[in-house]
């Protein structure tokens, strides 16, 4: 059986090394010329909790999980039941588990999947220094057709510091797994691919976002640790130091947002990253940046809400707060990358826009996308750089920081520029920045702060629009991957539909939206929230066709291509 894509879950308790093994599989797959996508799920324990690496390998780029896993390898069953719902299987799936560990949890059994026993612990024990996760990895490799060579390369790279013996032990364990799996029932095997070193990237969404920020020009970051944004920050801290910037770990989110406002006021493009609870704490000062027209970028990596919610799991439920969470009328940018790859582009674009428009850009990523690792085609260079409009020194005798201009953007002086001193203010102000409660000043400033956003030409980047026909799928963020895949399958079934994945959530683009939907008579709205936040937002701001269905579900289960396809099918 040769397929274009195979989905594999590797589960076990915390110490079992499933994440390590998953990462090695991904690395080997990239060396074998395949593309890949991996997310992870873990329990609440810091150490020793259950975990799963959920992977999809493919001969084409992949940006989402499939409807179910072809292969589940469980090193043990400890607490795997807790997230069985995250590991959908079908009757065609194969479950590989260690006979020492007993019965699979009932939910796994109920799937009707075929199952085989692989004595991972026993085999590992027979090899000095051998570990069950390597046996599992070997079995997976054999089943999906991953050659030994790239695996060995990865072993050598990862275990270099541990020495030859460790490498050999792992290799032996791998081979034991491979040998054992020889006669297992088949799962999809990927065809061998052309390997062209230097044409792929292996990167997580959080890393891509961090890189996008630095590419865009960010050189100051202040932040407070929070799952699942921390690893973006951990990537950025040393990276910034290398390119001449810095990251400050602040005492809380109130400090981090205000530190970046201060740094940006000083002329340095600045960013913070957080998740829901932190974003909540930042909204007052986001309003300050909007009112004082100080550009900043706020990356929000969404997790399950409300409140502390489910810190380690994904959800698209911070859309409302990102759009509407500020008091007063506070127009700003909200952007959302729609894949691991797009985290790079969208974050870079966000920096560019925030700086060009002297406002706040909130970027909504999520745990699934941010912590997903993907093997992707090497991304293109993008021309978007931070470029703030500054006053022309000589001309400005009577500098007006908040001058009401046609574009709404007013040239911004930077401390150190002589003779252009002004006071930035979060109080309503007149054109020079002096506090004012006059109706006329308030209206003029509200108008200009809105106008600079609505008058700007965002080009085609506001959304990814593809396909044709009378049916549209409208989605955003990490729900785009499965929606796009559903579209492909729908088209493969001979039907036509369009996909509109909105990248620029605010300001809204009613004309572009109308054009994208021209001729559409029915639309399916897809998102991962309980209350249908995205659907309500669309209704509020766009004209939707009469016939609209909303597929909205809370996390942590991702939307799957089959869910989307099912909704489409139920129409026709």
């Amino acid at each position: 059986m040769t397929a274009q894509t195979v989905s594999i879950a590797l589960a076990g308790s915390g110490g079992a090394g499933v994440i390590t093994a998953g990462a090695m599989l991904l690395e080997a797959a990239s060396r074998a010329g395949w593309y890949a996508y991996m997310t992870r799920s873990s329990g609440p324990q810091i150490r020793g909790g259950e975990a799963a690496a959920m992977m999809r390998l493919s001969t084409e780029p992949v940006a989402s999980h499939d409807d179910c896993f072809h292969l589940l390898v469980a090193i043990d069953w400890n607490n795997v039941g807790r997230f069985a719902a995250e590991l959908p299987l079908s009757a065609g799936s194969l479950v590989v588990s260690d006979p020492e560990e007993g019965e699979a949890p009932s939910q796994i059994g109920a799937s009707g999947a075929r199952s085989v026993a692989l004595p991972m612990k026993e085999l590992a024990k027979s090899i000095p220094g051998g570990r069950p996760n390597m046996v599992a990895l070997g079995a997976i490799a054999a089943l999906i057709g991953l050659p030994e060579a790239p695996l060995l390369e990865v072993l050598q790279k990862v275990l270099k510091r541990k020495g030859e013996e460790a490498i050999q032990a792992s290799l032996d364990a791998l081979r034991a797994g491979m040998a054992a799996a020889k006669d297992y029932p088949a799962v999809p095997r990927l065809p061998a691919a052309e390997t062209r070193p230097g044409t792929r990237w292996s990167i997580t969404g959080n890393e891509a976002a961090g890189l996008g920020a630095i590419r865009g020009g960010v050189r100051f970051v202040a932040a407070y640790p929070i799952t699942p944004a921390t690893d973006m920050l951990e990537w950025m801290a040393p990276a910034l130091a290398k390119v001449g910037g810095t990251l400050v770990q602040a005492e809380d989110e109130l400090a981090s947002i205000n530190q970046i406002i201060g740094a940006s006021y000083g002329g340095v493009p600045s960013l913070t990253a957080t998740s829901g609870p932190g974003l909540s704490l930042m909204t007052e000062s986001i309003g300050l940046a909007i009112a004082s027209e100080t550009p900043i970028v706020v990356m929000n990596v969404m997790r399950g809400g409300p409140s502390t919610g489910i810190p380690t799991k994904s959800e698209q439920s911070d859309l409302n707060i990102a759009l509407y969470g500020m008091h007063g009328d506070a127009p700003h940018l909200v952007l959302a990358p729609n894949s691991v790859t797009d985290c790079l582009f969208t974050t870079q674009w966000a920096v560019h826009l925030a700086e060009a428009l002297q406002t706040v850009a909130i970027v909504l990523s999520d745990q699934a996308m941010g912590q997903a690792r993907a093997v992707i085609p090497r991304p293109a260079e993008v021309a978007f750089l931070a470029k703030r409009e500054k006053p022309q020194l000589a001309a400005e005798q009577n500098y007006q920081r908040y001058a009401v201009t046609a574009s709404g953007v007013s040239p911004m002086a930077i401390p150190g520029m002589h003779g252009l001193q002004y006071t930035a203010d979060g109080l309503e102000h007149n054109e020079t920045g002096t506090p004012s409660s006059h109706v006329a000043d308030h209206t003029a400033q509200l108008d200009k702060r809105l106008r600079k956003l609505t008058a700007y030409n965002y080009g085609d980047h506001w959304a990814d629009v593809e396909g044709e026909g009378e049916t549209a799928i409208i989605t955003w963020g990490s729900s785009t991957g499965p929606a796009r895949e559903a579209l492909r399958r729908y088209e493969a079934g001979g039907k036509r539909a369009r996909l509109v994945s909105i990248r620029l959530l605010s300001p809204v683009q009613p004309e572009k939206f109308a054009r994208a939907l021209e001729g559409v008579i029915r639309a399916l709205v897809v998102e991962q929230s309980h209350s249908g936040q995205f659907y309500r937002y669309l209704r509020a701001h766009y004209d939707l066709p009469r016939d609209v269905k909303a597929l909205h579900r809370p996390g942590p289960l991702p939307v799957r291509p089959g869910d989307v396809l099912g909704e489409l099918a139920s129409w026709s």
Binding site: E207, I214, G245, L254, G266, S285, S292, P415, G416
Partner: protein, 280 residues
């Protein structure tokens, strides 16, 4: 970004803007403003290279009344704003001005952490033991039995903070107290604070004529602190814990901790260098 070429001498009034303060006639904050401008004239810092950052309150209105770069942010967050600015732009002189409510009530956490982080900014806290701007409520430095606010009609029943003692315990590197009744002394202390590397904390007793008219008596209550500054934090702490808050006119503590100043020079790496790690 500095484009100043001339070597003009600045006078105090070169640091003042044309905007008329909204303060009540007789408010202590007028003296702080003029002491500040005197101090800057003494230091001859070009106004375009100085930034004054504040939060919200009567006292926090100062930035716009100066001719320097100003940032009038939200209530309680002046210190992190200033710290971000100074870390990103170490070439600037950064001052923070604000009230006892702004700095010690809502802003208390940033106050603690600013003392600890020791970024080279000067923090001038204008203490009138009241929230002036919101028309007279108790602040963290208000005496427990002050019954002047309808919000706490029986008094707060809580002991006031000694901001300098807390600042010291949290790691402040320079600690001084002065009184608006002697603006020249306030100016001198501000000069010294700006010159001192690291975080400098200056508490200025600045009467609120409107909601604490009894503070007119401060000129009789204050005395020049009977001690010289120490570099021994433990000794300073002991002094401050028993001090009644009216010893003014002096720097009380000077430390020598290195200011926090991350290197912004980079390692010479380019963005392309960063990208290599992802390549497969």
């Amino acid at each position: 970004m500095d484009t100043q070429t001339q070597a003009a001498r600045y006078s105090a009034k070169d640091y003042k803007s044309a905007i008329k303060p909204i303060w009540c006639p007789g408010c202590g904050d007028f003296s702080v403003l003029s002491a500040l401008t005197k101090a800057l004239a003494e230091l001859q810092l070009p106004p375009g290279r100085v930034a004054v950052v504040s939060g919200i309150g009567c006292s926090s209105r100062i930035p716009a009344y100066t001719s320097m770069y100003g940032f009038h942010g939200v209530h309680g967050r002046a210190l992190p704003t200033a710290i971000g600015l100074k870390v990103a732009r170490p070439d600037l002189t950064v001052l923070v001005t604000g009230g006892d409510g702004d700095g010690l009530s809502i802003g208390g956490n940033h106050f603690l952490h600013a003392c600890r982080r020791n970024v080279d900014v000067t923090y001038i806290i204008m203490d009138n033991q009241v929230y002036g701007m919101t028309k007279g409520q108790a602040s963290p430095t208000t005496a427990p039995d002050w019954e002047g606010s309808k919000l706490t009609p029986e008094g707060t029943g809580v002991n006031p903070f000694q901001p300098l003692a807390i600042g010291l315990a949290a790691g402040a590197n320079f600690v001084a107290r002065c009184f608006t009744g002697d603006p020249n002394n306030v100016a001198e202390i501000i000069v010294e604070a700006i010159r001192h590397p690291g975080f400098s904390l200056v508490q200025v007793l600045s009467p609120c004529i409107t909601f604490r008219p009894e503070q007119k008596d401060w000129k009789r209550l204050v005395r020049t602190a009977p001690v010289e500054f120490t570099t021994d934090a433990a000794r300073a702490a002991r002094r401050l814990m028993t001090d009644d808050g009216f010893n003014v006119g002096k720097v009380l503590y000077k430390g020598s901790r290195e200011p926090f100043r991350p290197d912004l020079g980079g390692s010479g790496a380019t963005v392309a260098d960063l990208e290599r790690q992802f390549l497969r």
